[in-house]
C-alpha cells in the first residue's frame, strides 16, 4: 500500500504485535492516525486492498483483542486529545479521542486542567462553569489505569467501583465509529433504538445498515461477553463492547459524576473463606453507599506475605497475621462523615454476624490510609505476575491463567465451591482475588510446568460450561478477545454465535476488522 499513513511492519514496531495477555501475533503494516479523517483514509485503503485491520489502544488488554492476526495494525495512541466539553442539566460531558489514557483523564478531571486549544465557544463556556463547580469524576476504574478510553469502550471495561456505578457502558453518551468502508456512524444515548431485534443504524452520511440483533438472553450479572443484545435496545450499546469487530471507535463522549464527599475503605480479615462469603451475602442490599466489594483468598495472601519478606518494594504492605485466611475490602462513598460512620458500623455489624471480629479490620478514613489499602490491592496481581515470571524461567511454555467469569448473586457459594473442588481434584495451585460483590472472581491458576498448564486450560473450559449453566458470563470485564472466543461459544452455543456473525457481516462485509475476536469467520454468514 502506498498511503503515507500506512507503514510497513518492521522490527522497530515489534512491540505492537503483543499485548498484556502476552500473546504474540503478526502484521504486515502499521498506522498511527491522529484524526478521524486519517482513520477513514486508512480503512478505505484497507477496504480497497482487502487487508485485515486490528485496532489497538494501550494494549493493556488481557484477552488479546489487540493482537493482530495478520494485516494492518491501527494504533490509536496518538489520538489522545480531549476535544470538547458540554454542560447540560447540571451535568458535564467531555468528548475524547479514543487514545486518551484513563490515568491522564482522571488527572485532568481531578485538577480541572484541560488543554482547550481548538475548543469551540460552547466548550469553553462549559469549561468555565466546570472550573467554578464542585468536584467530578469518571467512575470506571479498571486496575490498569494506563488503559485507553477507546479500549475501555471496546471491551466495556469494569473495575472495583463498577459494583456501585456499573461498567463503562453506562457512562458513555456518544460513540462515533469508522466502518470498514470508511463511512462513519455515530450513536448517542437516548438515540436510535432497535425495533424488537431489528436494527437500522443510520450512518453519518445518511446511509443505513440493517441488521438482526442476536436473540440470546444476556446473563443477569456483570458481563463483557460478546455483543450487547436485547429487544428494543439502544443501538449505541451494540457499539460498546464490540471488541474491535464492527468498526474503529474514533470519538467518545463520557458523562462525569459528582465526586462523593467522603470515601472510606475497610478491609475485613476473616479466619475462613466461608465466613467471608456469608458476609458478602449479608452485606449486599443491607448497606447503602457500598462502591466496591473486593476479595483476596489465602493463596493470594500467602504470596503477599512472601513478597513482603523478600522484596523491599512490598515492605510497606501491612502485616498479614497468620490467622488471616481471606480479606474482603469494602469501599464506602458517602455524602457526610456521619453517614460514613453509620455505614461503617453497619459493615461492622454484618462482619460480626458472619463470624468476624471488628478488631480484625483495617479502616481507611484519609487518603494516606486509602492509598495503603490500594497498594495492598494492586500488590496482589503484581506479585502473582512476578511469581509466574520466575516459574516461566524454568519452563517457558507456561503463563498465568486467570479466570474472568461472573455468576448471578444466588450462585456465589456454588461457584466458589466449584473452583475449590476442581482445583483440589486437579491438584493445581491458585491465587484468587477480584470483585466478589459481583460474584466475579479472578481465579488465577499458577502452573509449575507445562503439564499443569495444559491441565488448567482444560479446567477453564469446564468452568466456562458450569458458569454458563449458572446463568453467568465467561468474561465479566476483560472482554472475550481472541483468548476466550472458545468460551463464548460454550456460553451462547453455535446458533447465537451465528447471529453475532451475521451482525458483524452487516457492518464489515469483507470480514476485515478484529479478525479472531469473539468468533471466527464462517462461510455463508
Amino acid at each position: 500500500m502506498d498511503l503515507k499513513l500506512i507503514r510497513p511492519m518492521t522490527e522497530e514496531f515489534a512491540e505492537y504485535l503483543r499485548d498484556e495477555s502476552r500473546s504474540v501475533g503478526s502484521a504486515e503494516h502499521i498506522a498511527f492516525p491522529r484524526t478521524q479523517d486519517e482513520i477513514r483514509e486508512i480503512l478505505k485503503a484497507c477496504y480497497a486492498s482487502g487487508e485485515k485491520v486490528t485496532v489497538q489502544g494501550a494494549r493493556t488488554g488481557l484477552a488479546a483483542a489487540a493482537v493482530p492476526y495478520g494485516g494492518c495494525i491501527v494504533n490509536l495512541n496518538k489520538m489522545n486529545r480531549v476535544t470538547a466539553m458540554r454542560h447540560e442539566g447540571g451535568d458535564y460531558y467531555i468528548t475524547l479521542q479514543p487514545g486518551v489514557v484513563l490515568s491522564e483523564l482522571k488527572k485532568m478531571i481531578g485538577s480541572k486542567k484541560f488543554d482547550t486549544t481548538d475548543w469551540d465557544e460552547a466548550s469553553n463556556a462549559a469549561y468555565v462553569d466546570f472550573c467554578k463547580d464542585g468536584e467530578f469524576f469518571f467512575s470506571p476504574d479498571p486496575t490498569e489505569a494506563s488503559a485507553t478510553i477507546g479500549g475501555m469502550v471496546c471491551c466495556n471495561a469494569s473495575g472495583a467501583r463498577s459494583y456501585h456505578y456499573g461498567p463503562t457502558r453506562g457512562h458513555i453518551t456518544k460513540v462515533t465509529m469508522v466502518l470498514s468502508d470508511g463511512r462513519t456512524l455515530t450513536e448517542t444515548r437516548g438515540g436510535e433504538c432497535a425495533n424488537g431485534y431489528d436494527a437500522v443504524f443510520t450512518c453519518d452520511d445518511g446511509s443505513k445498515i440493517s441488521a438482526k440483533l442476536p436473540t440470546y438472553e444476556m446473563p443477569k450479572t456483570k458481563n463483557a461477553s460478546g455483543y450487547y443484545a436485547a429487544k428494543d435496545m439502544e443501538l449505541i450499546d451494540v457499539l460498546i463492547g464490540s471488541d474491535g469487530t464492527l468498526g474503529v471507535v474514533s470519538e467518545i463522549e463520557v458523562k462525569l459524576l459528582p465526586l462523593p464527599q467522603i470515601i472510606w475503605g475497610v478491609s475485613l480479615l476473616f479466619e475462613n473463606e466461608q465466613s467471608s462469603l456469608r458476609f458478602v451475602d449479608q452485606l449486599r442490599g443491607s448497606v447503602e453507599g457500598v462502591a466496591s466489594v473486593e476479595f483476596f483468598d489465602s493463596g493470594a495472601l500467602d504470596i503477599l506475605r512472601e513478597q513482603k519478606k523478600k522484596s523491599t518494594a512490598f515492605s510497606a504492605l501491612p502485616v498479614i497475621e497468620p490467622f488471616v485466611n481471606t480479606v474482603v475490602y469494602v469501599e464506602l462513598h458517602c455524602d457526610t462523615e456521619e453517614q460514613a460512620q453509620q455505614r461503617l458500623f453497619a459493615v461492622g455489624d454484618a462482619f460480626t454476624a458472619a463470624g468476624g471480629k471488628e478488631e480484625n479490620s483495617w479502616v481507611a478514613r484519609n487518603q494516606s490510609d486509602l492509598d495503603r489499602l490500594m497498594f495492598f490491592r494492586h500488590a496482589v496481581p503484581e506479585s502473582v505476575n512476578m511469581l509466574i515470571d520466575q516459574r516461566k524461567q524454568k519452563d517457558p511454555t507456561i503463563t498465568k491463567l486467570g479466570a474472568d467469569m461472573s455468576v448471578p448473586d444466588a450462585h456465589l457459594f456454588d461457584v466458589v465451591k466449584m473452583y475449590r473442588d476442581t482445583l483440589k481434584e486437579n491438584n493445581l495451585e491458585s491465587a484468587t482475588w477480584g470483585h466478589v460483590g459481583n460474584n466475579h472472581l479472578h481465579v488465577n491458576v499458577l502452573p509449575n510446568n507445562g503439564e499443569e498448564y495444559a491441565r488448567a486450560k482444560e479446567l477453564f473450559k469446564v468452568w466456562a460450561a458450569n458458569v454458563s449453566k449458572m446463568g453467568g458470563a465467561v468474561s465479566a470485564e476483560h472482554g472475550v478477545g481472541k483468548l476466550k472466543a472458545a468460551f463464548l461459544t460454550i456460553m451462547y452455543g453455535d446458533r447465537h454465535i451465528d447471529e453475532m456473525r451475521a451482525l458483524k457481516r452487516a457492518f464489515d462485509p469483507k470480514w476485515q476488522l478484529g479478525v479472531g475476536n469473539l468468533f471466527t469467520e464462517k462461510e455463508g454468514i
Binding site: V319, Q341, F345, V347, G348, E358, W362, V363, A364, S368
Partner: protein, 259 residues
C-alpha cells in the same frame, strides 16, 4: 507505663497551598491529617503499651477541629487525649508551642515517656521534641529508628546519625523523636473507631493549664518570619535556531541573563 504522644494537624497533601494575600498556609480542616511522622510516634507508643502495659495519651495544641485527629489517634490504640486550644496559643513558633505542650504534659501528671515525630511536614523545623524536653527538664534522643530494649526505667534506642546509626540508652522520664523507619503504623479497626467516637475528650484553654500568656502564641514567639512565598516552579522552553555559532551565542546570552 504512661506515655504521651504529641501530634500536629497538617495539610494532607504535599502540595501546600499558600494564601496569596496573607502569605500563610491555607488550612482546610476537611483535608487536614495527622503529621505523618506523628503516626509513627502513635504506633510506637501503642506498641510499648502492649508490651509493658500502661496508658497512652495523645496531646496536641491546635484549633478545636483538631479533636477529629486526636480521636483518630484513639482509634489507632491511644487511650486518652488532651487538646490545648485557645486564641492565646495562635501564631505560636516552636518555643511558644513547646511551652504550651510542657504545660499540657504537666496536666497529665507524672509521665514516663513522651514520643514525638521527628518533625512536622509543614514546618520542617524538627525543634519541638528537643525544645519540649528542655522545657520539662528531661533528657531526649532524636531520630530514633528502633527501640532495642524497653523497661519502666529506661530505653535503649537505635538512632539515625549523619554518619550511620548510634545506640543510646536513656533513663526515664525522657523524650524521644522517631523517624519513619521505626515501625509500620497500624490501621484503625472498626472497634477502634467505635471507641474513639464515644470516648471522653478533654480540651484545655491557656487559663486551664495556668499558662503565662506572655509566653504563648504570637506574643511569646521570638521567631520572625521575614518573608514566605510560593517557590516559582514554572519552566520555560525556548527553541534556539540558526547556525551553531548563532545558537551558541544565544545560549550564552540566556546564561548571562539568568546567572
Amino acid at each position: 507505663m504512661k506515655i504521651i504522644v504529641c501530634i500536629k494537624q497538617v495539610p494532607s497533601t504535599n502540595e501546600v497551598r499558600m494564601d496569596p494575600v496573607t502569605k500563610t498556609i491555607i488550612r482546610d480542616s476537611r483535608q487536614a491529617v495527622i503529621n505523618p511522622f506523628d503516626t509513627y510516634a502513635i504506633e510506637e507508643a501503642v506498641r510499648l503499651k502492649e508490651q509493658l502495659g500502661g496508658t497512652v495519651y495523645a496531646m496536641s495544641m491546635g484549633i478545636p477541629a483538631t479533636e477529629r485527629l486526636l480521636r483518630d489517634a484513639m482509634a489507632r490504640g491511644v487511650d486518652k487525649s488532651l487538646l490545648l486550644t485557645d486564641r492565646a496559643f495562635a501564631g505560636a513558633d516552636t518555643l511558644a508551642t513547646s511551652y504550651a505542650l510542657s504545660l499540657g504534659a504537666a496536666q497529665l501528671g507524672d509521665f514516663d515517656l513522651i514520643i514525638c515525630g521527628k518533625m512536622a511536614v509543614d514546618g520542617d523545623t524538627a525543634q519541638i521534641g528537643p525544645e519540649l524536653s528542655a522545657q520539662l527538664g528531661i533528657p531526649f534522643i532524636t531520630d530514633v529508628c528502633e527501640i532495642l530494649e524497653a523497661s519502666e526505667k529506661k530505653l535503649r534506642c537505635k538512632k539515625v546519625t549523619d554518619n550511620g546509626f548510634a545506640e543510646v540508652e536513656i533513663t526515664l522520664p525522657a523524650l524521644i523523636t522517631v523517624s519513619k523507619d521505626i515501625n509500620m503504623p497500624r490501621f484503625p479497626s472498626i472497634s477502634g473507631v467505635r471507641f474513639s467516637l464515644t470516648a471522653p475528650f478533654r480540651s484545655c484553654t491557656a487559663a486551664d493549664v495556668g499558662a503565662d500568656t506572655e509566653r504563648c502564641g504570637l506574643t511569646g514567639s521570638p521567631t520572625q518570619v521575614v518573608r514566605s512565598f510560593t517557590p516559582d516552579r514554572s519552566h520555560k522552553a525556548q527553541p534556539l535556531t540558526g547556525s551553531m555559532a548563532e545558537i551558541a551565542d544565544a545560549a550564552l546570552k540566556i546564561y548571562e541573563e539568568v546567572r
